[in-house]
Homo-oligomer: 540 residues x 2
């Protein structure tokens, strides 16, 4: 079997380098036969040049062509659902149904279609017009975007089909996609559909490109390359921080979603009111797909008392009864064991689980630990280690003061949840803890577990460092997620026929625009752009 080709500058071709890698079937524990190339710098250099060349050509295209590409690509993926789910299952162990075929693939195509809508309506660009001074601005494409997807979403976050891909392309940026090495064949199949759709839409060669793997050094070089506009990365904190340092030093924007332990606070009134329902919700959220979610509730804060002890027992029983689900890779399993070990060394007590499961599948026992808030506060850094997989930590505080102190030690997270009594009994405690929590998380939930990231314009899949690299941006949600891959451009006294469509008087895209401090889809009366600009304010 030959090594899989990469896709560069509009062509499938063999990588210029000879090292290869293979993927792994976590259900059987077997290595998969197909080999994929580990690209050397010469491959990457070629993608950068092709993407750079594609950028200006893409800029000149009507937005309809980009929207057509995204929609057609979504249609092709829907039509190929069974084949995609089958191969993704083989490489990830995720269930064909409902997970891959009925949930993740529809989410993926929904994202592509929403991005197509945004490409057409310009809602991401925040077009702004000051008619008095004839100054106009909007967000505009930033340049070629390098996308690295994570191991845990082979479709919806795949570098060639996921949210970052859709966002970067919809804005008008070429994408250099790097497959996650845990699911290269899935990525190859997705890319074949992407290529067919890009050719049908006559996008410039170099608009989409695919490589499978590269050395860490080449990754650091790539994110800092002058030809690149920005990078989107979803993955480990260690990898993300190394890339961030390289990109930051070169002044290149990089958007990272790195790690999160997603604190859940279960207030006493809620636990007294509906213990079984919360134990069910918690177990489902912590153990679904073996807990391999960025928004898994990694730590939970409870107040000491009989209701908390009953809850812990109930959860422990549920963890014991719950069938195991394979982890994505042996690395994930090793890393999960190491994380649990870190928690234990820092004083957490193992209640159940804690070891790999026997058998060919790459499983780990469902694992639950507890620690006192006092102990947590003494080792808060170690006890905030993300243990990616089916393990969770319960923190029991003796008092509201202690619970508040725990929240105040938390690093930035994607989410934070608070369950409180319907009766209002917990409201004083909620009012005390919520302001401390809210500032530390990107998304605050009430009475709801954090897993389940709706693709909504109002979603924030982001948060303060080190959950991400910058708390202003979200990785999920149209149009907001698209704004990551933009630069602000202002047109000062630019002649009317030279303005981009979003800023023309006639508003040919029928976009929402912020004109003289109000939002409107109305065109401007013809001729406003022609009058001489007044100049106010001081120079600068």
């Amino acid at each position: 079997m030959t090594t899989a080709p990469i896709f560069i500058a509009g062509q499938w071709k063999q990588s210029a380098s000879s090292p290869t890698f293979t993927a792994f079937n976590p259900t059987t524990g077997q290595t998969l036969p197909q080999t994929f190339p580990i690209s050397a710098w010469s491959d990457i250099d070629a993608t950068l040049t092709a993407a750079h060349n594609a950028f200006h050509a893409l800029h000149a295209l009507p937005r309809q062509q980009i929207a057509n590409f995204l929609t057609d690509y979504a249609d092709r993926l829907d039509a190929a659902k069974d084949a995609i789910a089958a191969i993704a299952h083989q490489e990830t162990g995720l269930a064909v149904a409902p997970r891959l075929a009925d949930s993740e693939l529809p989410r993926t195509t929904n994202q592509l279609r929403q991005a197509a809508g945004a490409a057409l309506d310009g809602s991401w660009a925040l077009p702004t017009i000051d008619t008095k001074f004839n100054i106009r601005s909007c967000l505009a494409p930033i340049g070629p975007v390098f996308v690295m997807g994570p191991n845990n979403f082979p479709l919806a976050y795949n570098a060639i089909s996921g949210g970052d891909f859709a966002a970067a392309i919809a804005v008008g940026n070429p994408v250099i996609a790097k497959a996650h090495p845990a699911h290269p064949a899935t990525t190859q199949l997705l890319a074949q559909h992407a290529v067919a759709a890009a050719q049908a839409a006559q996008l410039p060669p170099g608009t989409i490109q695919l490589i499978y793997h590269m050395s860490n050094e080449d990754g650091l070089r790539l994110v800092a390359d002058p030809r690149l506009g920005a990078t989107g990365f979803t993955g480990s904190r260690r990898g993300g921080l190394a890339l961030k340092a390289a990109a930051d030093a070169a002044g290149k924007p990089i958007y990272l979603e790195m790690s999160s332990i997603n604190p859940v606070i279960l207030l006493p009134g809620a636990l007294a009111e509906r213990p079984d329902a919360i134990a069910d919700e918690y177990t489902n959220s912590a153990l679904g797909t073996a807990g391999q979610f960025c928004t898994k509730p990694g730590i939970t804060i409870l107040l000491a008392g009989p209701a908390t002890e009953s809850f812990i027992s109930a959860v422990q029983q549920r963890f014991a009864a719950r069938p195991l689900h394979p982890l994505l890779t042996q690395d994930v399993r090793r890393s999960l064991a190491a994380g649990i070990q870190t928690w234990q060394s820092a004083g957490a007590q193992l209640l159940i689980g804690g070891a790999p499961a026997a058998g060919p599948a790459c499983c780990f026992a469902n694992t639950l630990l507890r620690v006192s808030a006092e102990r947590f506060l003494q080792n808060s850094r170690a006890l905030q280690t993300e243990a990616f997989g089916n393990a969770a930590l319960l923190i029991v505080a003796d008092s509201p003061d202690q619970a508040a102190a725990v929240v105040e030690t938390l690093e930035g997270n994607l989410t934070g949840s608070i369950y409180s009594a319907i009766t209002g009994d917990d409201d004083p405690l909620y009012a005390r803890l919520e302001p401390l929590l809210r500032h530390r998380v990107g998304r605050l939930l009430n009475d709801k577990m954090p897993t389940g990231v709706t693709v909504s314009p109002a979603m924030n899949h982001g948060g303060p460092y080190p959950a991400t690299g910058h708390p202003h941006f979200t990785a999920v949600g149209v149009p907001a997620a698209l704004r990551r891959f933009t630069q602000l451009q202002c047109f000062d006294h630019v002649r009317p026929h030279r303005l981009p469509p979003l800023l023309q008087d006639a508003n040919p895209m029928n976009a929402w625009r912020f004109i003289d401090n109000r939002w409107t889809t109305e065109p401007l009366p013809h001729g406003d752009g022609h009058r001489p600009a007044a100049v106010s304010g001081g120079p600068r």
Copy 2:
């Protein structure tokens, strides 16, 4: 005379450290008598704690109190115009009128009042509501903001009264202001009015604080401190990049406006059509206030020919005839001389000027250089050195290809201007050069010099690195400039009475909100927030 007090945690008090500095009168060349403290870490540590404590208190205040503060502060500054302009003139050499009293101070108070409006209308927050899933998000204050202003705008960019200050406070963040050491007495006077207004508005102590100076090491430590939310910096590239590295490593957002040479392209048809007008505009823009503007046209690209030679002669005559204006400090004069020397060493030819002027005032001869595009391309890095002050470089290209090559070597800049013939004769050349230029600048101008930054919602005073640290953000313009000092916060299934006002069904702030993909100021029908959230999409 005692050393001036700093303002920490609601009180004027002596700095805990003993080193001091003095300012300089550039008009007389004399050192000014008042001494100001160089704070040690203990001062800074105290401001951080006070700002951290103020943050939550500020969050709980009605927005009206913040707006009242900003408006009252603006009124106080307007009333004290003469005293402020006099002291700022003494420390900067900038003219009392029209510059300080009639241009910069009104601009400053205009910014404060616009920020007050934004505090009330929430336009900066982009409130977004998805009624189907009951998910709501908006931008929210990021935490205490450290502001460092530049030497060249003692009022409109002052850390205690300028654009960054207004933006950070309007959003609801405490500000730690550091005076620029070139105008500490001006800053002290402004701060006295700020303090009076803050006390009148009953803002929490620690909302505004002032220190005058610190070591570079303490600056690096401050921008990375966990108690800080973000930093706003306007100043030199060297200082900015050092601060950026420290802030980036700690994951703290930092917004930098560092340096820019603001390329101007004068196309042949425009030069043939209106040579005198363009020579006048160019001279005014390059030499106004001794060229001490971030948007000074530092380099100008021309195409070789008789019209260009005439233009160069005309500009040379104007430079010779133009009276000198003092530079802000001896450092600025030394740095200007060094920049010109760098240009000359890289092959630029001195046409006029090039040396400090005799006499007590801190002046430098109006300086003009030229270089061929060929030479520029051989030394493009050195020839893109910013020479801050009254010096400018003309680049003469032999062909459109050469002009395009020059544009393609340019680093990121705040602005880029293109002058073209009214007749349309230059349009083919414009169409070739503009796409190359646009992507490299924050603001594109037609037939207009770049100095003159209108405080407009559509302004972009920003641009690609290294003009700034991130091309998505602007330092000027309300509401966009406020968004720098925010984090995105999402409320998922949060109970209605717990939502921030901007996201409540009733829309009590009458804000523009993006609801189900359209912008509106309408409230939501009461009760929409109560219905159970549906959950869609896959988990993540």
